[in-house]
């Protein structure tokens, strides 16, 4: 019987493929995170960790703390207490270089052309792939010469999503990426999210359209009033529940008269 010789790069690949999943350090680590706006507590001591190469759904009703958590990770809010680390680093310049954030609102100046937005991202982000961005714009029939103010709300959101997903980031934070998009484009966008992310990347999606995204998720987090109610892998969820995640969401968050 011949002995199999394992080269060092093969050992790394084996580890990366998941044989040593438990030993991988989390990409996102949050401990006792609090955020208060005066007397209102948007996040109440949230703790969680997310490993690399996961697509995680951050799900909850309006005002549950989803956007607050995402904005803290993106570096747009300072937490009141607790800590949040991305790839072992405190939120700052270094994490912003590896995090690609899509807000739920348009954030480019309306007088800019689509091509100028590409120039902007190319200037500031080393991991931005212009070729991929231009190809996706072509697929969605969006001209680089168009001014943003002439585009519809849905088209502007598509442009932003294309810019965000054209980066080779470690972490993608997508706040309502498909809310304002027509159903026909949703599949394209979800396909882009799955295929567009790098091999080592993690995606956190905050959305209300659970039925559209549940088939692409690896994990889900239910959050309400700034507290995490559930955080499970989709594999464990399907083993434990016959219902869909959408139905489970409605059950957990149903409004009582």
């Amino acid at each position: 019987m011949t002995e199999e010789i394992i080269e060092p790069w093969q050992l790394e690949e084996k580890e990366a493929s998941g044989d040593n999943k438990e030993s991988q350090k989390p990409l996102v680590y949050i401990e006792n995170l609090r955020k208060s706006y005066g007397l209102v507590e948007a996040l109440s001591g949230v703790s969680l960790s997310i490993k690399p190469r996961k697509i995680v759904g951050l799900l909850g009703p309006n005002g549950s703390g989803k956007t607050t958590m995402i904005k803290i990770l993106a570096g747009l809010l300072c937490p009141t207490d607790g800590c949040a680390l991305i790839d072992g680093l405190e939120i700052g310049v270094d994490t912003k270089a590896i995090v690609s954030y899509l807000p739920e609102r348009p954030y480019f100046n309306s007088w800019m052309k689509v091509g100028e937005c590409l120039d902007f991202f190319e200037d500031f982000y080393k991991d931005f792939d212009r070729e991929i961005a231009e190809k996706m714009l072509l697929d969605l029939d969006i001209s680089t010469d168009s001014k943003l103010r002439t585009l519809s709300k849905g088209t502007k959101e598509k442009v932003q999503l294309i810019l965000v997903m054209s980066r080779r980031a470690r972490l993608y934070l997508l706040d309502e990426p498909i809310a304002g998009v027509d159903p026909a484009a949703r599949d394209y966008i979800l396909d882009t999210i799955i295929k567009g992310r790098g091999d080592d990347a993690t995606v956190i999606i905050s959305t209300h359209l659970i039925s559209d995204v549940e088939n692409v998720l690896d994990e889900y987090i239910f959050i309400k009033n700034g507290v995490i109610l559930e955080h499970e892998s989709m594999k464990d969820f399907r083993n434990a529940h016959e219902e869909s995640l959408d139905l489970r969401f409605r059950e957990v968050f149903k409004y009582v008269r």
Partner: protein, 306 residues
């Protein structure tokens, strides 16, 4: 990264800054034409009225009346041009104010509104973002103030060179008016004004950012309140310092004065005009540095974009 930030900041303001700069330059040219016309008219007017008086004294009443009528017509034209020159000067002053307002609006839009989501997720330190805004403000203020100075010079120079009876020419011929001190005064005034403008601009940035993160609604109103409060506080401080300065110079710089309120020896104009300008310049530097670091701290530790 800083160079890229500055490039984008300059570009974003150039959409309105360039037309404003071109407009200021055109105003300067119009001012020059008006000033030359006004000076020529006033010079000829004096000669005509002199000749009219001469003709009257010689008994040539018809000629005297004709020349008087001509003088009236020319005077009217001179008055119209004078108003035009005044109006152009006001517009030049307005252009300096406009660029400050545009810079403040640009700061608000790129940091406090939805565009702040883009700015603050860039992989750059908050201090670099703030410094880029300040350098952008320095460049645009320098351009517009230079055009203001050029436009004002174009309004004034013909008055000195053509019209020997003009106000500035009369001032310069006054006994005891030291021309070198006047030049130094003008240089210090320009320098002090420029640094004052920059200090105000940095203070406005601080007020806008503070209003933006503290107020949930009516952020602009909150920022305006901080700006007004700051101006009032600065005015009070200026009055206190000015009063103290006057007391010091009249008490200690005129040794023969026996009564502090009635100086018997004339004070050198250099001290009266240039020392306060120097203090103003130093004060502007202090204000700029203090508000830069305070705003930077707010951006780093208290960022709360809605």
């Amino acid at each position: 990264m800083f160079a890229k930030l500055l490039k984008h900041d300059l570009r974003s303001l150039s959409r309105v800054g360039k037309p404003l700069a071109i407009g200021s330059f055109i105003l300067g040219i119009l001012g020059l034409i008006s000033s030359i016309g006004h000076s020529l008219i006033m010079t000829q007017s004096y000669k005509i009225i002199e000749r009219s008086a001469e003709a009257y004294a010689n008994g040539d009443f018809e000629l005297s009346e004709s020349l008087s009528d001509l003088y009236s017509t020319l005077s009217f034209g001179g008055t119209v041009l004078a108003f035009m020159m005044f109006f152009i000067f006001m517009l030049l002053c307005a252009s300096c104010l406009t660029i400050m307002v545009l810079l403040a609006v640009n700061f608000y839009k790129t940091l406090i509104t939805d565009e702040g989501y883009l700015t603050f997720t860039l992989p750059v330190a908050p201090s670099q973002i703030l410094l880029s805004k300040i350098v952008n403000a320095i460049i645009w203020n320098a351009i517009i103030m230079a055009l203001f100075a050029l436009g004002t010079a174009m309004l004034v120079i013909p008055s000195v060179t053509i019209n020997e009876n003009g106000l500035l020419a009369v001032m310069l011929s006054l006994e005891g008016y030291n021309k070198m001190n006047l030049v130094l005064f003008i240089v210090l005034a320009i320098e002090s004004s420029f640094f004052s403008v920059i200090a105000y601009q940095i203070f406005y940035f601080f007020a806008i950012f503070l209003g933006g993160i503290v107020a949930k609604k009516r952020k602009l109103l909150a920022s305006a309140g901080i700006i007004v409060g700051g101006h009032v506080a600065y005015y009070i401080l200026q009055q206190i310092l000015s009063f103290g300065f006057i007391v010091v110079i009249y008490t200690y710089l005129t040794p023969e004065t026996t009564d502090v309120w009635l100086p018997y020896n004339p004070i050198d104009p250099f001290i009266i005009t240039n020392i306060p300008l120097l203090f103003s310049f130093l004060g502007s530097i202090v204000i700029s540095v203090v508000f830069f670091f305070v705003t930077k701290r707010l951006m780093t530790k208290n960022l709360n974009l809605p």
